[in-house]
Amino acid sequence: MIELAWLIPVFPVIGVLINGLFGRHVGEKAGPIASVMAGLSLLVVLGIASQMIFGAGGSHTVPLWTWVEAGSFSASMSFLIDPLSTIMLLVVAGVGFLVHVYAVGYMHGDPGYPRFFTYLNLFMLSMFLLVLGDNYLVMFVGWEGVGLCSYLLIGFWYEKQSASDAGKKAFIVNRIGDAGFLLGMFLIWTLTGSLTYTEVFQAAPEMSAAMASAVGLLLFVGAVGKSAQIPLYVWLPDAMEGPTPVSALIHAATMVTAGVYMVARTSPIYVMGPDAMSVIAIVGALTGLFAASIGLVQNDIKRVLAYSTVSQLGFMFMALGVGAFAAGIFHLMTHAFFKGLLFLGSGSVIHALHHAPEDQQQDMRYMGGLKDKMPVTYWTFLIGAVAIAGVPPLAGFWSKDEILANAFFTGHYTVWIMGTVAAFMTAFYMFRLIFMTFHGEMRVDHHAREHIHESPATMTVPLIILAVLSVIGGVIPGFPPEAGWIHRFLAPSLAKVPAGGHATDQGVHLMNAAAGGGHSGPAVVLLIILAIAVAVGGIALAWHMYVRDTEAPNRLYERFRGLYRLLLEKYYIDEIYQACIVEPTYKLMRGLWTFDAKVVDGAVNGSSLITVISSRFSGIFDLRTVDGAVNGTASFIRFFSQVFKYLQSGMVQNYLFVMLLGIFVMLSAYLFR
Amino acid sequence: MDMALEVAVAAIKIFIVVNVVQLVVAYMIYVERKVIAHAQLRLGPMRVGWHGLLQPIADGLKLFLKEDIVPDKADRIVFVLAPVMVLVPALVVYAVLPFSATFYITQINIGLFFVLAISSLGVFGVVMAGWASNSKYSLLGALRSAAQMLSYEIFLGFSVIGPLMLAGSLNLQEIVHAQRDVWFVFYQPVAFIVFFVAALAETNRAPFDLPEAETELVAGFHTEYSGMKFAFFFLAEYASMMVISTIGIVLFFGGWEGPDFIPLPGFVWYCLKLGAFMFVFIWLRATLPRYRYDQLMRVGWKFMFPLVMLNIFLTGFLKYLFL
């Protein structure tokens, strides 16, 4: 069965060809065609997965053909099937198929129907390539492919200005990250002479810590872009302009997790570079907290979910950063279930409200009381929310608890605190969403009220399936905590953090023990209890504020007006970016023009500067309190935007000049080698 | 020493050819005036010399002595350079034209390609003249001219491919040798027709003389020119007519070779064929109205282009079958 891995991407290709070339003739049949193709891929994936899980295990390479051969460099088109890619394949194909089915109903009647499914299949293809590739080059192709599809799908309703803008934003922001990824790839090749995983990882232990960190950080820049971490997360909330199935598929379950997958895949290198891991942990924790705090006050149902996604991705990176790769992947999986569920659920709500005025369809302030009108959606949504909040025994609890526990045990106490706070916020805003949307009195526009109805079966069936998965998806692979099946299964694919020579080696043996056999003792139990308490506390607070005492939000708003606006306007990050690119302060620019050389130098050294500064910040931040961290984030962002401002002067000639300087540097390297 | 001799011989040849060309061109204008005049029931130039035979010299003197006007708002350098840019390529091409088996300046292995390349530069002068004159008529004329010459250059280039495939060489001498038995015009009538039409367009001759259509654009790109500079344009037009006729003769009519039973020197045969070609040029001018710009383009792209492509395909096919 494993030899048939090449079939997985073939089906989406067929779908793309049919829908792309004959879209006009296919018409509304495009959806079923694409879904069947996705389903066939899923079948193959299931076959392979069953063989991997119940049978062989281990790691298998499926060579297809030699792709690039230039001098000593060669890259082949071959697929790698190992536990890590199996899990990812299951997630991608499973959620992907469900979203296809869902979209058949959701997109019904859209003029771009065949185009949508062409893109969707193209996305599946790219994602499969990303996951299956046995070297970084194939992964990069997939990486770029999903970026392209993301652009196409976000901007799917291109006649809407905001949608096409959001598409462009996603594309451009991703490009910045991709540049980092590319540089990382180059560095890997320079260091090891190969891009194939097996060869690279064989050579990895010989790397110096500094080089490993450099590789790790460069790759992480790519991950930051793709997985929407600080500071490149800005595109994801805007990406909600795309159709909801897209949000569910791309921006919850699959594409944004590509960064997580990539970091996990590269774990042998990361464990050699502890500095890079620290950066990842800090960035992840900050993102988790930061996005969660924004999510507290958003009113757009999809934006709440979007910030929630950013936040959860932060959790995953937190896990990766502290060395708990398996936990990160586990959370990736569970998150795919419940976030896919939540997005599809929100899509169902929006679908029901599509008779409401344009600006009210997604605004929670104009919802409420939908519980009785849409029972299936409500109940599945509730399951998703409980799952994400981290209430046992639902999926989210198992993975999130593991992450927090790992952070704690590896001695990243700051990270752990931030994570815990973020988890509390998560529980709060999810139930705020539930209560505002489904409970209380109905605030929907009068015209739209009679049109509210439960969604068709193609939409509810995926919801139910995902709900089931959200319930059981955590406990089955994740029990007992820290030593569940998934840890054993993933172990061959992931590297272990070596003992010794590590800043936090006090926790290493604990963690390794965790990967091996599970914790025991009161600390673990305490952590579990704390996690449950946090989740329940968040839910309770939401209930208090939005069901029992509905005046409470207003009182809070009166008291913390400034903070509220800061959060509502997302810390003004977009405005800051905007101001820096479009309306640069005139006098500042004038003054800086005279320092043109300095500016360009700054741009060239930008990436190393980022590394230096971020590591310095990581030291300082470890000492700060949560309160300070929140404030610090803002200035942190401001600093980044200051630097990036000069990267985006918008003038081709500046960019070209940087290229020229690049040649200069390369020649220098040649001359003084 | 050999080299010095070589250079000296080449220089003498160039001197002879260039001067002869100038003279021939001057008299070609005379012939044209005479032929057209007789086609139109007139006598043409009769005053200067016997039957106006010295008319070209008088014209040349007149143009030479005329005041040289450069318009006020013109781009001086480009304005002055433009006629040179038209004339020089037309003359440079003579370097590779075979006038007889022995009389030529040089022969190179990409001879025909060289001719096409160099003559494609003539369009520069036209464009420069049109732009530098700073006149609307000139600019319109130049734009038309450039578009016309560029597109018909393509058909010209494609039409010579048929004979080339038969001859198997780009060397003009070898192409002539290849037609010792049968002229290529009998094998390649379609190519010849396309070639001839494209040649008319390339040299801006009727019915494709719209760049200088006097009834619409006064005189096209050389509206603002006078005196010697104008004479340069004139010379260049007739020089390139001669070039293109020579190429036609070489490609389709066996060059300087004549039938064996008429023992005439090669150069005489060449002159006879050239005369016949030139006569057809003049004849057409006397007969045909002028195409409109868009019709010209339509004829080129929608009729000639498919035709010549088909010809190339057929030639290749037949050559593969029978040769």
Binding site: W593, D596, A597, V600, Q653, N654, F657, L660, L661, I663, F664, L667, S668, Y670, L671 | M3, D75, I77, V78, L81, I108, N109, I110, F113, F114, L116, A117, I118, S120, L121, V123, F124, V127, M128, G130, W131, L139, A142, L143, A146, A147, L150, E153, L170
Partner: protein
Amino acid sequence: MEIYFFYMFAGGMIITSLLMVTRANVIHAALLLVLTFFFLAGVFVLAGAEFLAAVQILLYAGGIMVLYLFSIMLMNVEVAVRMRQWHRQGVVVFVAVVLLGLQIWAVLGEVEFAAPKQWEWSLGATPGNVEAIGAVLYTKFLFPFEVASVLLLAAMIGAIVLAKRRIER
């Protein structure tokens, strides 16, 4: 002998290209570039690439540059002449380019070339001939050749779509 011709052509190219880069009038710049291409064709001939030299003149000088002149004429040259010509980063770039030049000089100083090889051509034709190019182009490089034609087609369509005047619906 050959080498002097080379110096002549090379010197001509450098002078004309320097002038080209510094002209304010675009038409002059374009015409100077044409001159550069002439000299370049001369260099090609010296290097035994007669066919390429002819292609250079036919396509580059005769085709592409006319296209340039054509489109320049559609724009307003005189306004552009009166504007500031140099980019603000000009001085810095100049220094950088000079430095890069020195670096290339240094790199070239390090390289040693083996003795040139002699042409070995089985078809009996001289190198640089159309036949030689054709034989290589249509056998070894057939696929790139086809790709190049597709590229041309794409560029043509792209140019038409871009330059086509928009028609309001």
